[in-house]
């Protein structure tokens, strides 16, 4: 084991980690938004939309993320849609995460008692207000732990986007080990960085969730 290369590599590792954080931040926001729309559409939309969402969820959940990524990055250009690697990675991660979180958000929506909606409607709120102000916050509170786990899992899976040359943490590790010839040590250090990131992300999400959704979020 030799770590003499490490001080000179800290800048690259930090830059890679920042890109990973950026990717997961965008994915979290876009993915959660998309899954709220998806879960609502699956419950209240027209039949065709319901069916389309159900198929989308099944297709994504039963195929590997790596294949989805390759399909989007290498496959879509033949339809005339050319994305730069970072955009392709964000799109693939968002679409992947949403398929899992649609189910999670849906379970949360089902857990809110129907009386809540009836009471809000009786108070004269419009259906959209009822959903955004009454049902959704309660649903999010219930599902917050599951949502947090899914976001952490997605952050770990994002290591794969190095394969389409997005310069995130794993990509930087690949470059470093090619330069230092210290493959094991390089990947070991970067694995530890991932471990710290995943623990920090979980903690950040829990404390952020407490602040926004109120006490009782764990």
């Amino acid at each position: 084991m030799a770590f003499a290369w490490l001080p000179g590599a800290l800048g690259d590792i930090a830059r890679g980690a920042l890109t990973t954080i950026l990717l997961i931040a965008v994915t979290t926001l876009a993915g959660t938004f998309l899954s709220i729309l998806g879960a609502a559409g699956r419950r209240n939309g027209p039949v065709l939309l319901k069916r389309a969402i159900a198929w989308y969820v099944e297709i994504i959940r039963n195929t590997p993320f790596l294949v989805q990524l390759f399909f989007i990055f290498f496959g879509l250009p033949s339809l005339g849609i050319r994305l730069d690697p970072v955009l392709a990675a964000m799109l693939a991660m968002t679409l992947n995460m949403a398929a899992y979180t649609i189910e999670i958000v849906g379970a949360g929506l089902d857990a809110v008692p129907g009386g809540q909606t009836e009471a809000a409607l009786a108070l004269g709120l419009r259906p959209r207000q009822v959903f955004i102000k009454i049902v959704l916050p309660q649903a999010l509170k219930v599902i917050f732990p599951a949502l947090t786990s899914q976001i952490v899992i997605m952050m770990l899976e994002s290591a794969v986007v190095s394969q389409i040359a997005v310069r995130e943490l794993t990509y930087e590790a690949d470059m470093l080990q090619a330069r230092t010839f210290r493959s094991f040590e390089t990947y070991f250090v970067v694995t530890m960085v991932y471990l710290v990131l995943s623990m920090a992300l979980r903690r950040l999400l829990v404390s952020g969730g407490r602040r926004v959704l109120g006490a009782g979020v764990s």
Binding site: E58, I59, R61, N62, T63, P64, F65, L66, V67, Q68, F70, F71, F74, G75, L76, P77, S78, L79, V152, L156, E157, S158, A159, V160, S162, Q163, T170, A173, Q177, S183, F184, Y187, F188, V190, T191, Y194, L195, S198, M199
Partner: protein, 215 residues
Amino acid sequence: MIEFTFWDIVRNLLLAARWTVLLSLAAFIGGGIVGLIVLFFRIAKNKWSRRIASGYIALFQGTPLLMQLFLMFFGLPMLGLRIEPWTAAVLGLTFFASAYLAEIWRSGVAALPLGQWDAGASLGLHYLQELRLIILPQAFSITRAPTVGFLVQLIKSTALTSIIGFEELVRTSNAINNATFEPFKVYGLVALIFFVMCFPLTQYARSLEKRAAAH
């Protein structure tokens, strides 16, 4: 450029899919065996044994599988072992699976009423007999749905072994794509093959879940 007909592509992908299936099975069986050992540590009476097992599980659940595979691939040669992609893939996925399976089964053990242990002890069974005859059969049976669900995750995870050079479905598809320049078709077919492998298992897990919820 080599000419590939549609059927050439399908045939080559299906041949490669055999390795995906084999790797999934090997990792599931290996992961089950190692997972059982981790489970013993995780539910032992000794505090340190429980802590070590928790740490093991947290380590594998808190780092990317791709990194675990890289560490296997580059780490084992440092121990003087000659390593091929297949060995690194099986070992990497085995340890990965063991952490998840141990955690799933532990939740099953934790869900059993403590009276089950007491009843076993009052029948004069010692600890290992209790585990083998009373606790583990019930724990496995109530965690069957998440175990099948994890198998689906494991099958999908084999795709990552293409990155360390194991010739399974995804690596073969990369080679075919480089020869045919038809990524839409090739990766679409790969996705379809994975779907055909995983969807029945997903449905099975769902029906197990429903059956469990009905009780």
